[in-house]
């Protein structure tokens, strides 16, 4: 293990993992005045669970009342709506409907509404089958009934987390990518972390390692109080015109283990059906499966018959960092200045800001030099929403490179040359949406291979001498 040199800075806080939770954590602690370092083992941020989700901003109406999850989702929801204008983050105010397709589900609705009210989501209301069909005429007439959750919205899963970490960086946080935390010792109030990219010292460690929460706890504390059980979710994304079939997010009646297959508009203008819920061993392999995709498509058509006419744009899969417990696993080792933020299973995008506040509040007694930043810099987020202004609409964009998603040369170069520049095609996709439309790169891969030359590893192509 390499010994850190004395002139190395000692950070107030080292955050392990730059998923949406780590990104929100970095923002919170930076704004609170801490000197923060974020250590991410992948080449890009959002390489774990946060890479692929449904991007619904949940109210927490269906969370177990009194759970940590419920309070973090509620707080995260409120803070998101509070700060999103300033950060330039979009919201699609869809609202949601929880739909019953048989008598058993119908009978379970009143209890779910009651639970929502208990959770403080007071605008949740039962609706007749007729009222729901009038609001969403594309729904199958087999519908039995349901209730509305007006506050469930759709957001941008990537720009959101990117905005959090970019604000942290703009205000002094350090992000190290390709930096896996392998181990560490806590001595004299300082953590000495062994990191693949070189040692790091910090007064405090916050483990936000998502799918590796238990592994990371074990590496640093010697043990973990839970086991991560990855749960895969696959999705089918339909072409943009299909988005006219559903105004609201269409949720099924949830079961104990999953929110079930949802139909939702994405902020990028598509209509998606998913996710599945499949337990698996692998923490890295989020495969799509032919049979599940056909099944998802069929489920979508069952609920929205007109969906049968629409083309598929893409498919994807993500892994939820579930554990054997239902609630989040947030715990503190006071003696070792260590917080583990794990098991942020299926609501982390909504809850991230709330989780960060929750953890900051655990830190009573720890003061950061200078205190909270007075006038923090607020960088503007990537503008990728189909429902809000995009770069191509403004003059001087240098030409459109990705024709399906209308991604301009200007915004690609801005991402490649800006802060936290992507170094992989995956990363560039999440920052700009290149190749993510209907043709999936048929038209723009060639041009992109030249434009990104020298920026990406691996490159989109090697020079052919």
């Amino acid at each position: 293990m390499s010994k850190s040199l004395d002139h190395d800075p000692i950070f107030d806080v080292a955050i392990i993992g730059a998923g949406v939770v780590g990104c929100a954590m970095a923002r919170r602690f930076t704004l609170d005045g801490a000197k923060v370092v974020v250590l991410e083992k992948a080449a890009e941020v959002l390489d774990g669970a946060s890479k692929a989700n449904s991007a619904i901003l949940h109210t927490g109406f269906d969370a177990p009342p009194g759970s940590v999850e419920q309070s973090c989702v509620a707080a995260g929801y409120a803070e998101y709506l509070d700060i999103r204008d300033g950060l330039g983050l979009p919201v699609l105010k869809t609202g949601a409907m929880v739909l019953a397709w048989n008598d058993e589900q119908l009978a379970s609705l009143p209890a779910l509404v009651e639970k929502a009210h208990q959770n403080g989501v007071l605008d949740v209301e039962l609706r007749s089958r007729e009222a729901l069909l009038e609001a969403e005429p594309a729904l199958s007439p087999n519908l039995k009934g349901g209730f509305v959750v007006p506050g469930e919205y759709v957001i941008d899963p990537w720009a959101t987390a990117h905005a959090y970490i970019l604000q942290a960086i703009a205000n002094g946080a350090v992000l190290r990518r390709n930096a896996e935390v392998l181990g560490g010792v806590f001595e004299d109030g300082i953590w000495d972390l062994e990191v693949t990219s070189g040692a790091v010292r910090a007064k405090q460690v916050i483990n936000c390692a998502g799918l590796y929460g238990d592994v990371t706890d074990a590496r640093l504390l010697g043990q973990a109080g839970f086991t991560i059980k990855p749960r895969k979710g696959q999705f089918v994304v339909f072409d943009k015109p299909a988005s006219e079939l559903a105004g609201a997010v269409l949720l099924p009646v949830p079961t104990k283990t999953t929110k079930g297959v949802v139909i939702f508009r994405t902020i990028f203008g598509n209509l998606a059906v998913g996710p599945t819920a499949e337990e698996q061993e692998s923490r890295t392999e989020a495969t799509t499966e032919t049979a599940s995709l056909h099944d998802l498509r069929a489920k979508g058509i069952e609920m929205l018959p007109a969906l049968a006419q629409f083309e598929v744009t893409t498919v994807y899969a993500g892994l939820r960092p579930a554990t054997e417990h239902q609630d989040y696993q947030i715990s503190q080792d006071v003696a070792r200045n260590y917080v583990s933020v794990s098991g942020i299973r299926s609501t982390g995008l909504s809850a991230a800001l709330g989780i960060a506040r929750h953890v900051a509040a655990m830190n009573v007694g720890v003061a950061f030099d200078g205190g909270p930043i007075k006038n923090p810099i607020i960088p503007s987020a990537d503008r990728l929403s189909n429902y809000h202004g995009r770069d191509w609409e403004d003059a001087g964009h240098g030409g459109i490179i990705c024709h399906c998603e209308l991604v301009t040369k200007r915004e690609i170069l801005a991402a490649l040359n800006g802060p936290m520049a992507p170094t992989t095609l995956q990363g560039l996709k999440r920052r700009t949406r290149v190749t993510m439309g209907r043709c999936q790169g048929f038209y723009c891969t060639g041009a992109l291979s030249s434009l990104t030359q020298g920026y990406l590893d691996p490159p989109i192509g090697e020079d052919d001498e």
């Binding site: 799509t288 032919t290 006419q309 964009h397 048929f442 090697e462």
Partner: protein, 410 residues
């Protein structure tokens, strides 16, 4: 920008069809013809088909795609066509009005007639619902060609080709040109899709061919590592490879249509047209591969010449909105029927032939029926991806406002 530009004929897409149409319109004496092309240069798909043979019929000798594309651009310019590249058409509005975007901003264009010529592309990996991980290095043939021929780039060294259409075989050539060697060609169907005479080609180049492959799966994390499948004997094969070329299964580039007032046909994936090549708004004509997947460049060129004559005639003597009947396949084995509408008029210049494709091998009598009358009949013996041409339904035998149903009597 509140300015509205004007022109006589606006052509959306400067590929083979758009350029041939523009040139032929000028030859018909039509003035003020503008081609709008979103790419940095006009020429369309042939720009990145670095192989022979293009242009034998239309230009009198065999060209490689890029030279052919340049020749079409030259001919169009010489004929007085205005080609504007770097212009993306973003919206189709009723009565020949277009929304355009350029690097300088948005503007609207009002024309007398619009022709849609946006061509076809291949289906993506996602659209095929393939199993496996999603690493970098899975490309369509078109994307590979653009990398190799337009950007001098090599995305992988030993890729596997999925599909066995003509374009799949052209991928072997593209690989060779770019210093890559195809590791295998895999077809999910029971046999190779292209006509048999093409088949030895793969063997000739030493590329193993697997037909009847099931349970395809892509492996690899950041980059492709292997592809596996169950072969026709039920045994799992695993081929190590660093890339996958997803070839064929063409579909019209109909993005603009879906967001517009024009009707789209689920069978072709392109716009609904009548026997004059007009979309459901008669100020819009359609030609080229946007009509249907898929024909050769030479075919599109010739078809565009006929479309030009119809457009020229319509500009001087408009057909306008006339009553029509719909025409559709009622046979699951018949993938599409083109045109999808028959305008009830005997105006001059109508197509004399209809185009169809089957989705499985069929032989039998193709019949079109309207109000109990047979309005067209022809024997066919065909397979998927083969062109089927039949005579146009006979207008005189069509009952008023009775839709035409087409099926195969086996």
């Amino acid at each position: 920008m509140s300015d509205v530009l004007n022109c006589n004929v606006a052509i959306v897409g400067g590929g083979t069809a758009g350029l041939a149409l523009a040139t032929a319109l000028r030859a018909q004496g039509v003035a003020d013809v503008v081609v709008l092309e979103r790419d940095v240069e006009a020429g369309g798909v042939p720009r990145h088909c670095g192989h022979y043979p293009f242009g034998i019929r239309e230009l009198g000798r065999a060209f490689k795609g890029p030279d052919y594309a340049r020749a079409l651009v030259r001919n169009a310019k010489a004929a007085g066509v205005e080609i504007r590249s770097g212009v993306t058409v973003t919206a189709l509005h009723p009565n020949a009005r277009l929304g355009l975007n350029t690097a300088e901003g948005n503007v609207e264009l009002q024309a007398n007639r619009v022709a849609l010529c946006t061509g076809v592309r291949e289906s993506s990996r996602a659209q095929r619902f393939l199993s496996g991980t999603r690493p970098q290095g899975v490309l369509t043939t078109g994307a590979l060609q653009a990398m190799v021929y337009l950007n001098g780039k090599r995305p992988f060294k030993r890729p596997v080709i999925l599909g066995s259409e003509l374009v799949s075989f052209s991928a072997i050539m593209t690989c060779r040109h770019g210093g890559m060697r195809a590791a295998a060609m895999i077809e999910e169907g029971p046999r190779v899709t292209v006509r048999n005479f093409m088949r030895p080609y793969a063997a000739l180049k030493g590329v193993p061919l697997f037909t009847g492959a099931r349970d395809l799966r892509i492996h690899g994390h950041r980059e492709v590592e292997a592809i596996s499948f169950t072969n026709r004997r039920g045994v799992t094969e695993m081929i190590e490879t660093d890339g996958v070329i997803i070839s064929g299964q063409f579909r019209p580039e109909a993005a603009l249509l879906h967001a517009s007032h024009l009707d789209v046909d689920a069978g072709t994936g392109g716009p609904v047209i009548d026997q004059y090549g007009r979309a459901t708004d008669p100020s819009y004509f359609v030609t080229g591969n946007l009509l249907r997947p898929v024909e050769t460049s030479g075919w599109c060129w010739r078809e565009a010449g006929e479309t030009a004559r119809r457009m020229a005639r319509d500009l001087s003597d408009p057909i306008g909105r006339v009553p029509f009947v719909c025409q559709r396949s009622v046979d699951p084995a018949l993938r599409f029927v083109l045109p999808q509408r028959i305008a009830l008029t005997d105006a001059a210049g109508a197509m004399t032939q209809m185009q169809m494709r089957v989705s499985e091998p069929v032989s039998g009598h193709l019949v079109a029926m309207a109000a109990g009358n047979t309005v067209m009949s022809q024997f066919i013996d065909s397979r998927p991806e083969r062109r089927i041409l039949t005579p146009m339904v006979s207008l005189s035998r069509l009952g008023q406002a009775q839709d035409v149903e087409v099926k195969i009597l086996r």
